[in-house]
C-alpha cells in the first residue's frame, strides 16, 4: 500500500482556490517532486498535508490512517516531517538545540521526572544529545553544534532544517525548495543529501523544487500544479515532453511553437 494517499484535496482562501481537487499517491521509499509556476499552490498543498491548514475537501491517508484535519504536531508524531520554503529555524537556539526540539515527541521525560531528575531523564537527555550530534554529522554540520542557528551560513541553515526534521523520526519528509538560493556547488551537495535520505535512511521524500536539473535527476515521479490544479503527473521524461507543462511554464506561445 502507498505511504501517502491524498485524494481530491481542496483548499481555498476566500475566493482564491489555492489547491483545487489535487490527488497524489506516494509509494514507500520513493522520491517525488511537486513542481509548478509561482503561486501554483505547492506550498499550500504541503501546509494541508502537514496540518497547518485544514483541507476544505478531500481525504489524506498516511500510513493507513486518515490525517486530514489533525493538528500539525499530531501529524508530525505520526511520521511526516517538513522543512520550510523560507527557512524557519529557532534562530536564537544553537544547532544542537534546534535538532533536540525536533525530538520533542520522541522523548518521554515528564515534568515531575524532570524536576526530580530521575535517572531515566538523565540518560534520555544524554542519548538525545548524542543522537542530535549524529544527525548534524549526517547532514554535514559536524562541529557546528553550539553555533546559534541564525549565525550559520545560508546553506548550513538549510541542512540544519533537514537535521531538525529528521529528529522527529519521520517516515515521510517534505522539503519545500531545499536548493532555493544555492549556488551550483551547494545545489549539488543538497541533491546528494536528499538522495541519502532515501538510500541511507530509507525515507520517502516529497520535494517542491524549481531547479529542473535537480528535479529531473532525483525524482522518480513528478506532479505538476498550475493555478491550484494538478495538470500532469508522470516520470521525468514524460513530464519533460508534456505540452501542458511546457505551456504552464513558458506560456501558450512557446507551447504552440513546438
Amino acid at each position: 500500500m502507498a505511504l501517502l494517499e491524498a485524494q481530491n484535496v481542496t483548499k481555498s482562501f476566500g475566493g482564491l482556490t489555492a489547491v483545487n481537487n489535487v490527488s497524489l499517491t506516494v509509494e514507500r521509499g520513493s522520491i517525488v517532486s511537486v513542481i509548478g509556476p509561482n503561486g501554483a499552490g505547492k506550498t499550500t498543498f504541503f501546509n494541508v498535508l502537514t496540518g497547518i491548514y485544514k483541507p476544505d475537501h478531500g481525504s489524506i491517508i498516511f500510513d493507513g490512517a486518515s490525517i486530514a484535519g489533525q493538528r500539525p504536531d499530531q501529524i508530525t508524531q505520526q511520521g511526516i516531517a517538513r522543512t520550510f520554503q523560507n527557512i524557519r529555524l529557532f534562530n536564537n537556539m544553537t544547532a544542537i538545540e534546534n535538532v533536540m526540539v525536533g525530538m520533542h515527541a520522541r522523548l518521554n521525560a515528564k515534568m515531575w521526572q524532570i524536576i526530580f531528575q530521575s535517572p531515566s531523564v538523565r540518560t534520555e537527555e544524554l542519548r538525545a544529545r548524542a543522537r542530535a550530534r549524529e544527525l548534524l554529522k549526517f547532514v554535514g554540520l559536524e562541529g557546528r553544534y553550539d553555533e546559534l542557528a541564525k549565525n550559520l551560513p545560508y546553506g548550513d541553515q538549510r541542512r540544519l532544517e533537514i537535521a531538525r526534521a529528521l529528529a522527529t523520526e519521520p517516515k515521510l519528509i517534505l522539503l519545500d525548495e531545499p536548493t532555493a538560493g544555492m549556488n551550483p556547488q551547494e545545489t549539488l551537495e543538497a541533491t546528494r543529501l536528499i538522495q541519502r535520505l532515501r538510500d541511507e535512511l530509507g525515507l520517502t521524500v516529497i520535494l517542491i523544487e524549481h531547479d529542473m536539473r535537480v528535479v529531473m535527476t532525483i525524482s522518480e515521479r513528478i506532479s505538476v500544479l498550475d493555478y491550484g490544479e494538478k495538470i500532469a503527473e508522470g516520470k521525468p521524461e514524460e513530464i519533460r515532453a508534456n505540452a501542458r507543462v511546457v505551456e504552464a511554464y513558458l506560456g501558450r506561445g512557446a507551447a504552440a511553437g513546438h
Binding site: T50, I52, R71, P72, D73, T76, Q77, A81, R82, F84, R88, L89, F90, N91, N92, M93, T94, E97, M100, V101, G102, M103, H104, A105, L107, A109, M111, I114, I115, Q117, V121, E125, A128, L148, K150, N151, R164, A165, A167, T168
Partner: protein, 438 residues
C-alpha cells in the same frame, strides 16, 4: 596551563586561581564584618548591606570551584544574613521581601522569558495564594459557610502545597482564553484578567462575603513556631525567631524554585517553550503540542506565585486588594526584564535589585534629601523626593533599556543575540561610510 591570556586589567588576576579564592573570601569576610558591626538603620548600613549583597554577584562571576561558590553563598545566606537580621529587623525584612519577589520573578520568567508569553496579570496568582490562606485560616471562612471553623495553623504547610496546585489551576484557567493571542494582544488581555481577579477580591463581599472586600482580611494565622528553633536560638525573643523562621521558609521556596526552573529550562519542556517563543509555526511542525505546552508554562509560572502568596499572607497577617494591583505585576515584569529575560541568575538579580530600589534605596534617597532640606540646602518646595520615587524608578528602567536592553545578566544566548545586532549595525555603518567615499 594557559600562557595565552595577558591580564588586561589589574583585576584580571583576581578573577581566577588562588588569588580569586583569596580575594573573594576577603571581600565576603570584610563586607560581612563591616555590616555586622554597623547595625543602626542608616545610609551607611544601607551601603554596606548592598556591598555585602554584591558579594553574591562576585561569587557568581568568579572562576572558582562550584563547591566553594556554594559553600560561600550558603554561609552568607544561612549564617550572615540571619545573624544580621537579629541585630536589625529592618534588614531581614528586606531580605524576606527580596526572597518573595525573586520567587515571583522566577515564576513570571517561565511564562515571559522561557515561553515568550507576555503576561501583565501575573500578580493575580500571588493574590489567589494569599487569599487561599487568608480565607481558610481566619474567621472569614465562617462568613462563607457558617458551620466551618478556621483551619489549624499547623495546616499551613499543607496549604503551601495547596497553593501550588491552586496557583497552577488558576494559571491554566486564565491561560485558556489567551491561547490564541500573541504579543500586544496577549499582554492587554492578561492585564485585564489580572485586574478581574483584583476587582473580584474587592467585590466578593456580597452576596456572600468571600474576600471581605476592600477592607481585606485581618489576623491571618501564622504557622506555629517550631520548638526546636527556640532551643536552637536562645537569647532571641519570639518575634525575632519568627522573622528568621519566615526568612528560612522564603529561602527554601526560592531554592526549590531556582532548582525547578533550572531543570525545566534544560529539558525537553524548556526547549519546547523556547521553540514556541522563537517560532510557533515551526514549533508545532516539529511535533510540539502548542496548547499543552503553553498551558504548562502558565501553570508552572503561576504555581510559584500561589505558594509564595500563602507565605506572604502568613507573614503580613493582613491582605487587601491594593496589594495585588497592576503596578505589582509591572514591578515583577520589570525584575525579569531588568535582570535579563530567560536568564535565571539575571532574574534573581533583577528581583533583589528592584526590591532594594523600591524598599530601601529610593526611600533612603528621599529621607536623605529631606534631611538636607532641613539643614537649609535649597531644594525647591515643589520637589518632594518621596513623591518622585516612582519617577526615578522609571527613569532607571529607561536608562537600562537604552544601554543594556538584554538585561544586566542576560541569558548567554541572548547576549550573543544583542551583540549580533550591534555587529550588524556596526558593519552597516562602515558599509555606509565606504559607500560615501566611493
Amino acid at each position: 596551563m594557559s600562557t595565552t591570556s595577558l591580564p588586561n586589567s589589574p583585576f584580571a588576576a583576581l578573577n581566577r586561581g588562588l588569588p580569586a579564592y583569596i580575594a573573594l573570601t576577603a571581600y565576603v569576610v570584610v563586607t560581612s564584618a563591616l555590616m555586622l558591626t554597623n547595625t543602626r538603620t542608616s545610609l551607611g548600613t544601607d551601603v554596606l548591606f548592598i556591598l555585602f549583597l554584591l558579594g553574591f554577584l562576585l561569587i557568581y562571576r568568579a572562576k572558582v570551584s562550584n563547591g566553594y561558590k556554594l559553600a560561600l553563598g550558603a554561609v552568607m545566606l544561612i549564617g550572615v544574613v540571619p545573624y544580621f537580621g537579629t541585630l536589625n529587623a529592618y534588614y531581614i525584612e528586606l531580605a524576606i521581601q527580596a526572597g518573595i519577589f525573586v520567587a515571583l520573578a522566577l515564576g513570571l520568567n517561565v511564562v515571559v522569558g522561557f515561553a515568550g508569553l507576555l503576561d501583565l496579570g501575573y500578580v493575580a496568582f500571588f493574590a489567589v495564594g494569599a487569599y487561599l490562606w487568608g480565607i481558610f485560616s481566619t474567621d472569614q471562612i465562617t462568613q462563607i459557610s457558617p458551620g466551618a471553623s478556621p483551619v489549624s495553623p499547623q495546616l499551613f504547610y499543607l496549604f503551601m502545597a495547596l497553593g501550588l496546585f491552586v496557583g497552577a489551576f488558576f494559571g491554566v484557567l486564565l491561560g485558556l482564553p489567551v491561547l490564541r493571542l500573541r504579543g500586544d494582544y496577549l499582554a492587554i488581555v492578561t492585564l485585564g484578567l489580572g485586574e478581574v481577579i483584583r476587582v473580584l477580591a474587592v467585590n466578593l463581599d456580597r452576596p456572600i462575603n468571600i474576600t471581605n472586600g476592600a477592607q481585606g482580611i485581618k489576623s491571618i494565622a501564622r504557622p506555629p513556631l517550631p520548638d526546636f528553633l527556640r532551643a536552637l536560638l536562645p537569647g532571641l525573643n519570639d518575634p525575632q525567631i519568627y522573622q528568621l523562621f519566615i526568612y528560612a521558609l522564603a529561602l527554601l521556596i526560592v531554592g526549590i524554585t531556582v532548582l525547578t526552573v533550572f531543570r525545566l529550562k534544560n529539558s525537553r519542556i524548556g526547549r519546547a517553550w523556547e521553540a514556541i517563543r522563537e517560532d510557533e509555526t515551526a514549533a508545532i511542525a516539529m511535533g510540539i503540542p502548542l496548547v499543552r505546552m503553553k498551558l504548562m508554562a502558565f501553570a508552572v509560572g503561576a504555581s510559584f506565585a500561589g505558594v509564595m502568596g500563602v507565605l506572604f499572607a502568613a507573614k503580613q497577617q493582613f491582605i487587601n486588594p491594593p496589594t495585588f494591583d497592576l503596578i505589582r505585576s509591572i514591578g515583577i515584569l520589570a525584575m525579569v526584564i531588568l535582570g535579563g529575560m530567560g536568564s535565571i541568575p539575571g532574574v534573581i538579580l533583577g528581583g533583589v535589585l528592584v526590591t532594594l530600589l523600591d524598599l530601601q534605596i529610593l526611600p533612603r534617597i528621599a529621607t536623605e534629601l529631606g534631611a538636607l532640606k532641613r539643614q537649609g540646602v535649597v531644594i525647591p518646595d515643589w520637589f518632594d523626593p518621596a513623591q518622585y520615587q516612582r519617577a526615578l524608578f522609571g527613569l532607571l528602567l529607561i536608562i537600562m533599556m537604552i544601554f543594556r536592553p538584554e538585561g544586566i545578566l542576560p541569558d548567554q544566548r541572548r547576549r550573543e543575540e544583542a551583540h549580533a545586532i550591534e555587529d550588524r549595525e556596526a558593519s552597516a555603518k562602515t558599509e555606509a561610510g565606504e559607500a560615501k567615499m566611493a
